[in-house]
Subunit: 481 residues, 4 copies
């Protein structure tokens, strides 16, 4: 059960720089010692792996993923009863991509916890999962908060069942309640075993694109207090400058996509609140190239929003906020990538610039933030230590230190030389064991290719055209206005 | 392989009445002889079954079923790639309900033919299937012809694939073509192995509820000629008095739901065309009780339509048309029965009056037509011989005669006494073998109950309320106008 | 210019009860003296009116009307450029109904101010108007806040122009801004001449029916401060218990429809805030009969909301809140009353119970509150003095006292005997002059009857039926699901 | 009352070419003689106008205009009760543009006939109107046939009233009836005073863009017979190759937009039917430049349709069909031209290529057909004589001959030199009187410019931005899919 990793340059996340030719000894899943190989006392049955020329960093963390992202109705129907399989696939994709721990900040509580526990017990390989279940205040996938077109198309029975799986007692109706009554529902939800609380400071993006305030300041404080009383962290979904400020003042441990504040830049005063260091700032940055591509297919107004989000990232960096890596990472069904609606979203960007892809988006994040001026070591912290601290799991995770969980990524190239080197994954070690990356994911569901075309599709294709109007008819405005 | 059925009253569909204490000898799936047991020469290894006190009638036929009815989006997604299983389940439900042969008049050609062939080869039990595939001229399940809300909710990839499975080269685009070009496409489609041709004389129920004419008279004639040239029958979907007349004049062998002609009754002249006997008239009747129930939940105008449809049935009977039993029989997913939209449709009627259910709707048909004055023997013919003749399979099916396929239903009660006695099924014999009714369907998919409620649903249920407006606000008309 | 009213019982809104046989002397539009006729010194050219047997009360006020309510698209199109005429008509209907002053809390600023000024200058008769223009934070009539179906039907040009007329610089985009930036926009808007500020504490009724918070507590405080700095009052649109509490704490002078808080009753703590008397509580009560009628046509959940609103009214009364009469009073176009959507709203109630009608709704209010236990004098105060005080116009309006504006209603029956007696209007006096009630409204636009049916309508009517589906077709779910 | 026009080259529409220096004598609105001035006997009080150097052609006709085109909801609301004024304005625009007679083939019968009669009696100036009222079989402006979004936005009362104004007894319900019953309704409609009958052979462009057949061949024949029995002509709206053929075979006198047959070119056989000369072929051609512009903003499939329509025009010319000028000419409200939906329609083309504009589209038609190879004289006939003959008004109109109505256009340039010279209108003479072109239209309604922007619009404009989603959120597909 003991493992000795030798010869690599170790970037432990604590020191100011990497140290070459270090050995790391792990036992029972934990790091026992780090030092020169000659200085370590090695147990008898220790397996040794030589990583000479390689670079060892702490296992990467991701502060915001969605292991089951419901963008496509068909996915939720086709895999009903099998959501745990989809989540397992995603946890394995994450692990393969160097993320030894991911924080799922919106998803179906029951299936997420089931997979979490199975991975924790070593029954299946996968990234360590910590999850929030629903975002307190949001309705389910088939609602105005996410996809309002489904009700009326899916059966009532199915729509209600899916929404129940996500929402339970934590949906929009909480907005009608007093702060105390909301607190009670949060307490009940915490009792079901979630790892942290995420609530909505702003709405999720209905008709006002996120500007509404979901809960009053007093209700927000009550929610955070409930989380802290239960010994877990609290975070908020915020999307406007006021929603952001309210969430900090309510005592959140971290806040998601802090840079997304609509057309308005974060004011100086709020940047200073972040600089006090009590609240982690998750940001969603795009690369310059990604921004340029987006600009081509969006309106001037949408561009204003993207530009403000970019300015916010730069201001958060320069103001000294504690920055956390995250990307809403999920596996989109392959059909989604063929949809016209994907255009003008970051998921429609080419893979090198696409922030939201679970397997690669964190690499894009690191390159984007390097472009914006973060130092190499700050990048590493954002992807590891900062997240562990904000989620209060830094006793176990986030750095390479004796006593901590032995989660590591072995890279071929030096990540402190260039952010793109994070992608040069040579090996992943989780709980002190080398992960068999080639075996992941064990079952390809959403990562599988689309099935080949049916014979019938060939017969149909040439006739697949239709239009609604007599071209040019001045009186005929059906569907066009 | 030989079977001797003794002691029953045999109603062979040829004689004017049943004959008591007849024996039927079958061999190799065919009827060898019918007569007094003592008069028959019985092969050595013949198995004998005593049906004393029972009534034997020809296996029932159904001139219009949909073994895969796509009313629910979820069904088509959940069972994608498994449509053959759904069709098999339906064919087994049909057989269990006394229908030894069913004519599927709209469905996915490929899966239907696959199950048809498997049943024909004796690989799985099930009602004999003869199928049309698509209705020439209709688009697929996810279109204006059936459910126009799906495009835009399902992925383009999925929507196109499902539509292709149903439509291939026979969809709405044919309306743009010349008669000759349409004929060519029908010829191509026939070449793929369908058993008969069904085309649209009227549209299927878009904004005009079926009143548009889909194809010109000349195109209709060309379609019918193509079918006849290929040696198969042709039929039409008609829904208006003109659509109906055009289809008869085009040479159709039978016409579906002839009594459904919107608010207008079939004119005398068209009734006389039917009386000439060259074209079978499929009707969809409701019981008096069913009509009364419907009346409660529909508008006056809808009632006009139902009333005309009832008058049409009565006029078709009295004018001497050759009437065929059919009911659009299909298995609706259990979710559908819980939907509000089901109200005011015949599927929303209680089981005793619900015409469209695959397992029981044909019994409703027989009781409804008895109410409207059809004689007992005419009822039997409508459910057996008339259908076989109209579909030109009467060399093999439709009556109990030496040389014909040994398809029979054994009833506990005399069907000539009361139409409700058709429901007293004691045994079903198909291809000369007794069907193990208890084993059907072998796999319960759509016939299974809904899964039990999730724990999450209990948490959600009490909050499952929402409204769109401030009650009473005079300015707030969102979604209400 | 002097007028002497003699013989009536005067209920001045100050004394504990009415005093019989009082004379009121007015001069130049103001009350000069009230007392026994013999005690008054009467100028030479004074006109005297004998109101013996009558009851004189202060002119009624209404704390929330919408003189141009945009429920119907057609109204806004048909009268484009003539909104001032509609507003004038409504102001005259109000005056005729005993309301000498109305507070318009949502409408097009420009036209409202134009009519206000014209009435103030005596150029046209009408109820005195004080107006807020837009509700800070709401979009215009053709938006998600009011009627989201119009964009895409009306031309972009028209939709934008109408929305601009209502919104100017005060719409939803303010939600994106910092409190200070919102304050600046409110200051700009105040500079255009509105009489008081109304802002949205809750949203107006989009997908969450009003539960979202529109502005943070800090922003709400800034808005109220801007109003007070400009010397005018501030009020909020609130619809949830938190929205209500936030608005009180932000320093509002009054709050609209305080009893409408969704399914949740106002908590004790908030009732106590009202009891402190710094914030007027506008309520929208229904009569018992009205509630019973509504109950028949709404869902159980909607009923929960109405029931809570009724409990809230009773609790506000018993907790000692300062209660204000108001009713969203407006003139609905006659077409609206024929719409199915009107059912299940208070506008669909019969006239005797319909709260929202401009001409009669305040009478319904008084009867409803009498049912709920308000004392006769408290009713009078709610309709007069309380409103004047909350809007800080009590130096001039709200009671009958020497020095105040001579606005009075002369009733045939004693309003302290029964609330229904408010409807027995004998005369209305405004600014010291008897109003010619028969002449109002001078121009009947929305109060006119529908035009008679065209000859063409008779030809069309019998065919005006259509349906979207083949009755009963199991595959045909267009528009029904 | 007598008028002598001297000096011009007269192109009378009968001779093979123009004849120079002809004099035309008119009296009482009719042409008395044409010849050399010296040869004519001139009444005493004859007014003489010298048109030396000019070119006189018969007054232009237009076989298909819509004097009230309802493309914009607002127009129908704003001008309710004033449709006659809009029609008058359009008739005056038409006259000013050289069209002395126009055939309105879809519009509100009552207002059209009222204006027609007023012009015929000389009470107002304007192009002579002959009108069909509704297209038999179509529903009104607010229906699936034209704009299906209005019902549910406009009040039921208004929607029904407008539809009644257009439809009366001739709407979609006729599709349910027997041919004889349809005939009876047509007879009733003829009795109300229309000038010719237009019916739908194809639907108008619902979900199948015009491919459905509206009426059976037998019903079409009955409709045509009713028209002929009443002494008027019959025509059809056709949009598919079968719809076109059926209409010819039904005996139509002319058929609208014959070249618009979806993606399929008119087959040879149908071209030959036209070549027999009994049925006029109205075509809607685009210029090459117009087609090229369109191609940029439409899909490949739409382009297939436009290309087929262009090929059809060329084939109709070369096959010898009798071609008629028409263009669906109407006056679009100025708002329409600012709508995005206008793009990709011929109305969105620049004025020089826009076929549908009432004032200029006929000039585009002439230039387009010249490009496609029509001879100069054939162009003149298409715009004059052919139309008069097809509509059977050639006893009075269409050529310059003694005895005919004195309708003429005086051009500065020779139209036989170049089609663009038709635009060089020097004078228009109708009923023997020179029209005061400068005075037309007498009242600018739809031809007026948009009103100037309101002050409020300036306040609003900078904030007029909104979006529905959090940019990039993978779960948030509201309104985008």
């Amino acid at each position: 059960m003991a493992l000795l990793l030798t010869g690599a340059t170790v970037i432990d996340g604590v020191s100011e720089e990497g140290v070459s030719d270090r050995a790391i000894l792990t036992e029972n899943g934990r790091i026992v010692a780090i030092g020169r190989a000659a200085d370590l006392s090695i147990p008898a049955d220790t397996e040794t792996i030589d990583f000479s020329g390689k670079f060892i960093i702490p296992g990467l963390l991701n502060a915001n993923v969605h292991l089951l992202v419901s963008a496509l109705l068909e996915t939720l129907i086709r895999y009903e009863g099998r959501y745990e399989e989809l989540i397992t696939e995603a946890a394995q994709v994450a692990l393969k991509s160097g993320m030894t721990t991911v924080f799922d900040t919106w998803g179906p509580r029951g299936p997420l916890m089931a997979v979490r526990d199975r991975i924790d017990r070593g029954l299946v390989p996968g990234s360590r999962i910590r999850c929030a279940g629903n975002i307190i205040g949001f309705e389910g996938p088939f609602s105005d908060d996410f996809n309002k077109r489904i009700p009326g198309v899916g059966s009532t029975h199915f729509v209600d069942r899916v929404n129940a799986t996500w929402v339970e007692n934590t949906g929009r109706h909480l907005m009608w309640l007093t702060p105390e009554a909301v607190g009670e529902e949060v307490r009940t939800y915490l009792g079901r075993g979630i790892d942290f609380v995420k609530y909505a400071s702003n709405e999720h993006g209905g008709s006002s694109a996120g500007a509404f305030i979901q809960f009053s300041e007093r209700t927000q404080r009550v929610i955070v207090e409930e989380a802290h009383r239960a010994g877990v962290t609290a975070q908020a979904h915020a999307q406007s400058v006021e929603g952001l400020r309210m969430a900090i003042e309510a005592g959140c441990d971290l806040i998601q996509h802090c840079n997304m504040t609509g057309p308005t830049e974060i004011p100086r005063e709020t940047l200073e609140l972040f600089a006090q260091g009590n609240c982690g700032a998750v940001v969603f940055p795009l690369t310059d190239n990604g921004l340029n591509i987006l600009k081509e297919s969006i309106s001037d107004y949408e561009w204003t929003i993207w530009k403000a989000s970019d300015t916010n990232v730069r201001n958060l960096i320069s103001s000294g906020a504690t920055i956390l890596l995250a990307n809403d990472g999920g596996i989109l069904a392959p059909e989604v990538m063929k949809e016209p609606m994907i255009k003008g979203t970051w998921n429609g960007l080419p893979e090198d610039e696409g922030l939201g892809r679970l397997a690669t988006g964190h690499f894009v994040w690191l390159r984007a933030m390097e472009e914006k001026g973060m130092s190499p070591m700050a990048l590493l912290h954002a992807a590891t230590r900062n997240i562990a601290e904000a989620y209060q799991v830094d006793d176990d995770l986030g750095t390479l230190e004796a006593g901590k969980v032995a989660d590591m990524v072995v890279l071929d190239e030096d990540p402190l030389q260039s952010a793109k080197n994070y992608q040069s994954i040579h090996a992943v070690i989780k709980d002190g064991a080398v992960v068999d990356l080639d075996a992941l994911p064990e079952q390809a569901l959403l990562t599988a290719d689309l099935p080949p075309a049916l014979e019938e599709e060939a017969h149909y294709k040439e006739f697949l055209h239709h239009g609604e109007r007599l071209p040019g008819c001045p009186s005929c405005m059906n569907g066009h206005h």
